[in-house]
Symmetry: C2
Subunit: 192 residues, 2 copies
């Protein structure tokens, strides 16, 4: 790959800044210590709203350029009002989005010009688990399948290998396939 043959922002990726960022982190690894945060507020029934604004990283406290809000609910067949996707669907979105963001960066770094990329994410789940009706059934998905279609300026194998690399460098794929310790604390506040 010769940098002189790349457009300034291949696939919309600012590769100069990307490589400069990696150099900066190589020199000062503490810049890579991040904490992401989300605050979920109950609305009514299974409907809730999550706000995402501040995070820690790159050596200090940061904020997104605006506070983002994301809603979740259950559909009517799961006794909700269908204001928004279910939390389980949001998890599939997080996986598809993480692999997709990585793929675009990797393609840019390899000088492969993308025309379009789609990822279909499917998760199978037997709700007997969360319904408490069968203790032998797990609460979560039994399995997830992701199917990518990658169109761009490369041979089929080069394009498919972008997905392999995205999988190897995905935060969400790692969490979903390997699991992470989750500590839950609760503070009950009775009516005064």
């Amino acid at each position: 790959m010769s940098s002189t043959t790349l457009p300034a922002r291949p696939n919309g990726v600012d590769t100069a800044t990307l490589f400069a960022t990696l150099d900066a982190v190589r020199a000062q690894p503490g810049l890579a210590t991040f904490q992401f945060r989300a605050t979920t507020e109950w609305v009514s029934g299974t409907h809730n709203t999550t706000t995402i604004h501040g995070f820690h990283g790159a050596g200090g406290e940061q904020t997104h350029q605006r506070a983002f809000t994301i809603e979740a609910d259950h559909p009517a067949v799961l006794v909700g009002e269908d204001h928004a996707p279910t939390p389980a669907e949001h998890l599939l979105q997080a996986l598809g989005a993480c692999l997709m963001s990585g793929l675009a960066n990797i393609a840019a770094a390899r000088g492969i010009d993308l025309d379009g990329v789609t990822a279909h994410v499917e998760g199978d789940i037997d709700l007997l688990g969360i319904f408490g009706l069968d203790d032998s059934v797990r609460n979560g998905f039994s399995g997830i399948t992701v199917t990518f279609e990658v169109a761009g300026d490369g041979d089929p194998d080069q394009l498919a290998r972008l997905v392999d690399r995205a999988v190897k460098r995905s935060a969400v794929y790692d969490v979903i396939t390997h699991g992470v310790p989750v500590a839950v604390r609760a503070d009950g506040r009775p009516r005064s």
Copy 2:
């Protein structure tokens, strides 16, 4: 708990339909077989959009009452344009939302009237992993902490126990703590 003392929709939960749904699934367990789906399309750089509409469950194909779209991006410090939360933040949202939806249903079933519930979700991650700069660092979160504040008509212990039960019946908590097999397929489509 006497059903005559409950409002028609405690905490906005249609408990009559909730219990009828559980009875229907007890009689016909195949109704609990679901598949959730999300389709992620690349936009530019780390920016992508996911559409969630159809799913399988309750014995057939279903659709949400409308197609939901969710965006993801990286912030400027991670070489994105900050159009939306990062995929890692979306994962935290999925966790907070799943625990919250379950908690509201459980409170309704127990006849506990909620005044307000907030969950703070924090995930620590060392990006040396996904940057490919230290093979000893995992790609995903090293740990996640969820802190609930549950205000309602109960003693502090009753309110805190709602969170314990939500954890025990959460699909997303199960996936994130225990992991799930993910199969990834890729189809490369060269320019013609």
